[in-house]
């Protein structure tokens, strides 16, 4: 039953995704890509559970810890890079104030 529930969520999320992103202007394609890339770092939740659990298996801990590190790079790098990019997108006049005041 739980499987069906998860599949149900999966299908709904897919439709939601298509609705959300279908009309993004091409100017925002790169930030959208790197921003959603950061979201895919959500796998960090699974990584934390693997790294922090005590299964008595060294392999699990090693794999989990590596996964935590990689997912953290993905998350932090992804969000910061997207923010940096979006910070550069400026409206007309925003960067030219000095000239206008002369």
């Amino acid at each position: 039953m739980e499987l069906m529930l998860l599949l149900f969520i999966f299908v709904l999320a897919a439709f939601l995704g298509f609705e959300l992103i279908a009309k993004v202007p091409s100017q925002l394609h790169t930030p959208l890509m790197s921003g959603s890339n950061a979201i895919s770092g959500i796998t960090i939740v699974g990584a934390l559970l693997a790294a922090g659990a005590d299964h008595g298996s060294t392999l699990t801990t090693v794999l989990g810890t590596t996964a935590v590190a990689l997912a953290t790079i993905n998350v932090i790098g992804g969000y910061l890079v997207t923010d940096r990019m979006l910070g550069m997108f400026k409206k007309k006049g925003a960067g030219k104030k000095e000239e206008g005041s002369q």
């Binding site: 998860l6 770092g41 998350v75 932090i76 790098g77 910061l80 979006l86």
Partner: protein
Amino acid sequence: MNVETLINFAYIVASILFIFGLKMLGRQSTARRGNLISSLGMLLAVVVTLFAQEVVSYQWILVGLGVGAVIGLACARLIKMTSMPEMVALLNGFGGLASLLVGWAEYAKTLAGGEASSTFTGTVIFLAVFIGGITFTGSLYAFGKLSGKLSGKPVLFGGQQIVNGGLVLGLVVAGGLYVINGGAPGMGTNAFYACLAIAFILGITMVMPIGGGDMPVVISMLNSLSGLAACAAGFVILNNVLIVAGCLVGTSGVILTIIMCKAMNRSLANVLFSGFGSDGAAAGGEGSTIEGELKPISAEDSFAVLEAARNVVIVPGYGMAVSQAQHVVRELAEMLENNGAEVRFAIHPVAGRMPGHMNVLLAEANVPYEQLVEMDSINPQMPMVDVAVVIGANDVVNPAAARDQSSPIYGMPIIKAHEAHTVICLKRGKGAGFSGIENQLFLLPNTRMLYGDAKASLQGVVSEFKAIAEA
């Protein structure tokens, strides 16, 4: 209410934050806040996970978080905007590998516990490992191509399709064996490692035959795969937030991939398997020999043409990124505006090496985004344009795509630069473009060629403007 319930509540909140964040990323005015909101969702998900029952020791978590944070911060701070395509590819690869490791760790856990995986768990572990593996090596290979460490040309070898087909078949067989055996030691473990190896190889052989100009499609596709890998990992650990967030990323990547394919009028299968551009000029078709000659122009004459223009459209392409000319382009645009001309930038959806590449570069050079116009809105106005300046763009302005049915790029939507009164094309040399196709635009009577490095050529034109301003 116990801790478990609270954590699941927090996961729902995190999912809502992701959804709002993504929605806000779709509008220029809210994009930055949207990114912040989605990062808050991530922070929430991470923090509450630390309180989960399964988590009993923190030292390895801290090590992982610390190492990852330092590297992630360094990447984000130090990376140049011009290196953005390879950066996105690299981060993508890390995400894919992390999902693979989550699947593997779950498998290692059941192995250590001496139990067999159920068919369901086995299947989703297989999916996480195989999608994550392809994403990882595929992204690394794309990173190599984009950063110039590997050749951007498509790499083709005899029987490539057969090799790829064989790999896929091997992957299915190994995956099937792994699932049927419940991952039991011996046959099951061997099948698992075979899956791992094949997925890694397949990632490389998939990206190998794809040329530099098709990179926007590949990057969007890998982006989608990294989301699906996270989604598969969500099924492995039965976690909703992974499924929702991974699925959202997966679909957003699919949409971008479709947009990129449409912008080239090609199917995804054609992009992935054709090795487009490798057969070079031979693809030109027989009936397409064009009359005309290349007419060079000097920087001084370009200045004279531009100085008289009232309506200028600049069409940037990958060549602008290569010569890092975006700042001097902005300088030229400002001078033209001070000279009384209307200046706009016409951006083709697949110009450059990733979706939106040109927009990022021009934003870095402080070009306001209102000045960047999409292909469909600029094309009807092209006949009214005095001068179109094509900077290192080639196939996206080739009129053969509209006229010449024998051309390999026939049907691809283009920016109709050729309809402007005068066209100035900045080009490094006389060779054909990425696709190996002779560009008819360069031979038209109203086209002039300004040869040389784009940045140097533009600096020449700009200095002419400066000389006049001072006189």
